[in-house]
Each structure stands twice: as C-alpha cells, then as structure tokens.
Amino acid sequence: MKLAYAIPAAGIAALTSAYASAETITIATVNNNDMVIMQELSDRFEEEHPDIELDWVVLEENVLRQRVTNDIATEGGQFDVMTIGTYEAPMWGERGWLEPLDDLPEDYQVDDLIKPVRDGLSHDGVLQALPFYAESSMMYYRTDLFEEHGIEMPDQPTWSEVRDWAEQLHDPDNDLAGICLRGKPGWGENMAFVSTLVNTFGGRWFDEDWNPELNSEEWQTAIEFYVELLGEYGPPGASSNGFNENQALFSSGKCAMWVDATSAAGRIYNPDESSVADDLGFAPAPVAETPKGSHWLWSWALAIPATSESKEAAKTFITWATSQEYVELVGEEEGWTSVPPGTRESTYANEKYQEAAPFADFVLNAIREADPTDSTLEPNPYLGVQFVGIPEFQSIGTQVGQQIAAALTGDRSVEDALNAVQRSVERDMERAGYLD
C-alpha cells in the first residue's frame, strides 16, 4: 500500500513543479509545409529575441480548427498566437475575440500586403490577423501530354474545353487520369472547389434573403457536370481525394490536369518533390457562364486572441513571421520556390522570386482578381468565394459536401442529393434564425 500511495504522490509533485523562464508564447498552427518551415526557422527569431520563448502546438487542420475555436469562444486562454483563415478572421473580429492589429510598426509595411488578402482578414477595415500565406485556385496541366495530343492551352480555358481534353487524355490503363479534382467531403475540401464551380456556372449558395438555392438549375448543371467529369475521367478513389491526395497524385504523374490551390505550385515545380516538374503548365481556373467567383481566395493568417497575456511578445512574433524580411529569409535558406506565397506585393516584385517561380504572375493575378464581396453572378448576402462567412457554414458545407460525394460515388442521383441538402440547409437556416 505504501508503494501505491508513494507513486501518485511523486507524480503529483512532478506535475506541480513550476519553473520560471523567459516569456513563453504558445503558438497553435497547422501542419502545412510552410508552417513547418516557419517552425524550423523560428530558432532565428529566438536568437534575436532572447526574452521570448516559443512553444509550438502543430496539429492537422481540422483538429486545429476545433481546438482554437473552442479555446477562443470559451476564453480558455491557452494560446497566444492562433493560425486562422479568411473564414474565421472577420467573424471573430466582429465578436471582439481578436486583438485588432491597427498599430503595426512602420517597417512592417502594411500597405505591401496584397489588397484582397488584407481585406479578407479585416473587420470594419481593421486587420484582425496577419497573412502568413495566401492562395487562389488555378489549373495545373502536363505540357508533355498536351503537346502529344496537339492541344493548345488558351489564355482562359473553359470547363467544356477541359471536359474534352480530359476525355482525350484519360488513360486508366497507364495509371493516368484525365483530371484530378477534390472529392473528399468537407467544407474546406470538396466544397471549396465545388463552390467555385457553381459560381462560374452562375449559381450561388443563398439569395439575398438567405434562402438556400441548392437545387437551382445552376447547381444542378454544375454538379452534374462535376460528377460526370470526375466520375468518368478522374482517378480511382476520387471521392476520398482531398488537396493532399491530389497533390501526391499529380506530382507522381498520375493526372493530366488538376484544378486546385495556387499554393501547391512551389512544391509541384520542385523536382525533389515532383516527377512532373519539367512538364508543368499553368493556366487560370477554367470558367463557364461567368468569370465571377471561378477561383477562390484563402489565406492562413496569424492572429492574437484577446485573452492572451503576452500580447506584445505575440505581436513581435507575428510581425516577424509575416514580414518581408521573413520571406527573404525563407528564400535564402529554403529556396525561393518555398517562400510563403500570395501575401506581399514585394515578393512578386522580387527578381529572384520571379526567376525561380514562373507561376508567380498567374498566382498574383488570380489573387488580385478574387473578390470575396462579389463572387456570384447574381448578388448574394455573404462574404467569401468558396465559403459563406457565417458560423453555420462549417456544418452546412460539410453536410452538403457529404451528399455531393455520395452523388459522385453513384450512391444517389444528383437531383436527389441536391433536393435533400436543400431541405436540410433550409432547416438549419431556419433554426439559426435567418429565415422566418
């Protein structure tokens, strides 16, 4: 018995022993490559700022999102820096959960931030989070295959052209899919892509009075097109492929075309990580009825929760990690294709970057042209291109995503799936008080 008591006692003593040290800030971030580089290079920051110690919590995206949202909404106060996106920043800013970033130091050059990205992270014109990297969507294709089949890529491809090319290039016997697209259900996975497709086919999530329009003719056409395109000319297992899976497929030469995030460009253009780096072509995201909302806008950004007790130290860190100086540091240390893209005009003006990254102009244009405030042919009441900036959207988007994945696997017809989600979204919106 003595022993049995002694062990927990020793355990508790170990648990409570506190130790004093420099100011520690806890940073919650996603396990994406750019953040991993940030974590590696943060030694430099700690050298420059010996009074600040960094404590990292790196989690996969979905886990991280749930974790930080819990924390901020309940004022748990466990993090000093949170990695959030353009979906969260304005909403959380509105609720006063974030430290407004209006008095940034002169040398941060806040005007250098690309405008749509900056706007996307602001509430009432005040920045709520500093962009770490930003992305839009575009098309990647294999120039060798296009040449072989005598296809020429126009300046602005259309979806019906893409369909024809996919048909020509699709070659399952040789492990080659005509096109790879997101199929894995989730509001940030298949629905990010599907929303842009619906936008360009002329549809929208909600009308101006928040009535869902998911079984409209535009949705019908867009989803039927998506199901046919990806079902017929997609890779096996398309309904469980998200961004990562598709990137792995494309970079190992298993897709002829791929429409996805611009932030993948650096990696699939890097010969160490990609076997198709030499035959890589870029084009804007395809359009159908309208160019509006045909490509998305997303940014991962660093924010300081209002509950943080080390706001100054946290601010010192986030201004460092999103600075021009940091971009240069990554360029020198990791190579210029690895710099966090999409945030600063100066990155794109940098000759070294332009030289190393032939896709730079496509990316910059796509980001500049994305407009979260006006993303659909007919007007809508929400903020966001590939998402709807309301708290209910995570659940709504994921449920719709599941039904669309079911339509993709042939579990149910497109019409059935859309009618079902229309009903369930109506219910959710009613419950949330948007509809009477």
Binding site: Q66, T69, N70, A73, T74, M91, R95, K184, P185, G186, P235, P236, G237, A238, S239, S240, L249, K254, P391, E392, F393, Q394, S395, I396, T398, Q399, G401, Q402, Q403, A405, A406, L408, T409, D411, R412, A417, A420, R423, S424, R427, R431
Partner: protein
C-alpha cells in the same frame, strides 16, 4: 436466519461506506457534466453566436428528432456494433481454438496476432487508410492489381465494410486474447472422453468448447460494446461519415450537426439522446450478458 439478517445490515453499511468513493466520484462525474449537458440541451447556446444562451425548451430535441439523418445514424450505429461484434467474437473464438493447438513458435504467433489491440485507434485508421486500402498505392490495391483485377476503392464503394474491417482488426485480437485465456482452462479429459465416444472436432467445438467459453464471450461482448457504441476516431480519420451518410453513426452525427458549428445546445441534446439509446441497448444486452456471468 436472524444471524444472516443482522449480518446483512452491518454488511450493508460497510458495503456502502466502501463503495462510497467510487460511487460518489462516478456520481459527480455523471451528474455534473450530464447535468450540464441536460441543462445546455434546453438552451439555444452556440459558441460562435454573440449573446447569452437562452432557454428554448425542447427545440433542440425537436430539430434532432425531425432530422432525417438521425434514424439512418442510429441504424448505422447498431449495424456497426453488430457486425464488429459478430466478426471479432466469431473470429476470435475460432482463432482461439486454432492458437490453442500446439505448433512451432506458438508463443510468437500469438503475440503477433494480439498486437493490433495495442495500437491507437487513430494510428490504425491512418495505417489502413493510407497504407492498406488506398486505391492508388495501398497494399490491397497492389494485390488485386497483381491478379489482374481493378483496385477496390474501399471508402467510396464499400465504406461501411471498410470501417467494419478496420475496427474488427483492432478488436478481434482483444477477443482472441481473452478467449485464448479462457480456453486454456478447458478440461482435457472431457475432450478426450468425447473423442473416445466418436465426437468429431465440430461436435467438440459446439458442445464442449463453446459452452465453456460462454462466460468469456459475454465479457468480450460487454467490453467491446461499450467502446463500439461511441466509435468516433476511426470514422473521423477514414470516411468522415460518408459518402453521404453511409458511415455516419450517432457519435459522428452529433459531431457534424453540432460540434462542427459549435452548437452546444444541439450537441448536448444529441448527447442525451445517445446515452438514452446506449442505455436501451445496454438493458437488453447487459441483462443477457449479466445472466451468463452469474452462472
């Protein structure tokens, strides 16, 4: 008789005082969170919405019960629990008999076969998803392709089966471990006598081994059921409940309907419904199991 009666009262008091720590703690554990859950379930309380929670009566329950996905999710829950129990207990029993036989390296083979039970559910789901069942570079795809068949796209063609396979892989070793132990106490003489009387291996299994294992099987069912009713990590990692609602069980439905948009009121109502369902299942199954345990 009087002696017994008095002993009982004294025993009852002692019994109560000894049980007190565990019972009180579990009561607190039950009452505080469950009480809070019950309270929240009558509130309109969304973490992401400004303003204080407000009392809405049964609204959360109304939404939950009119949700067409609820019945499907309940069905899925029972289907999953049922299949996994059948596979792990059935397979575990057969394997227990097999691994009871003497053969070279039996100790090592047993250890290998029970290993999956020690693997974290998240890790096992990740291994199966990325290394085994991946339609492109998974081992299973490579196997089917090497015999000239197309790769099976597990999570979109047979999502339920895939989840059942993964979870059974984790729990079959547990059943094996317990049943193997139980089978070792089987009376050899009885088996030998039966064999003398001309009983074949199937008869021996059916009339001697199986009745002997009855109690152990009850234990396995009981423990597994507790975990399977709240199955979450494996679904979260592999299918995210899809495609459609194909693999959405009650725990996952609560997650997607409520926790995902931080609707605490709905999540709580879902939790209350889940525990009621669990208790209904428990009353049937546990009673059955408990009867076996008494023998």
């Amino acid at each position: 008789m009087p002696k017994r009666a008095s002993g009982r009262t004294v025993g009852g008091l002692r019994s109560l005082s000894l049980q007190a720590p565990a019972v009180t703690l579990l009561l607190l554990w039950m009452l505080i969170p469950l009480g809070m859950t019950l309270w929240f379930s009558f509130q309109h309380y969304n973490l992401l919405m400004p303003g204080e929670p407000s009392f809405v009566g049964l609204e959360n329950y109304e939404y939950l019960f009119t949700d067409p996905s609820l019945w499907r999710a309940m069905g899925n829950t029972l289907l999953m629990v049922g299949w996994i129990l059948v596979i792990s207990v059935g397979g575990g029993t057969l394997l227990a008999v097999l691994f009871q036989q003497e053969f070279k390296g039996r100790g090592i083979a047993r250890v290998l076969a029970i290993s999956p039970f020690f693997v974290m559910p998240t890790v096992s789901a990740l291994i199966w998803k990325n290394l085994m069942m991946h339609p492109d570079n998974g081992v299973l795809a490579w196997l089917t392709e090497s015999v000239g068949l197309p790769a099976i796209d597990w999570f979109s063609w047979v999502p339920m089966t895939s989840v059942v396979i993964i979870v059974s892989w984790q729990w079959l070793p547990f059943a094996l471990l317990i049943l193997l132990t139980a089978i070792q106490s089987l009376d050899e003489d009885q088996v030998e006598a039966a064999r003398m009387d001309g009983a074949g291996p199937v008869d021996i299994f059916r009339f001697i081994t199986l009745p002997h294992l009855k109690r152990a099987i009850s234990v396995v069912i009981m423990i597994e059921m507790i975990f399977l009713l709240t199955l979450f990590a494996e679904i979260y990692v592999t299918t995210s409940g899809g495609p459609g609602l194909a693999t959405t069980n009650l725990a996952f439905l609560i997650y997607i309907q409520a926790l995902l948009d931080f609707d605490v009121g709905m999540a709580s109502a879902g939790g209350v419904v889940a525990i009621i369902l669990a208790n209904i299942v428990a009353i049937f199954l546990v009673r059955l199991v408990a009867r076996n345990l008494e023998e």
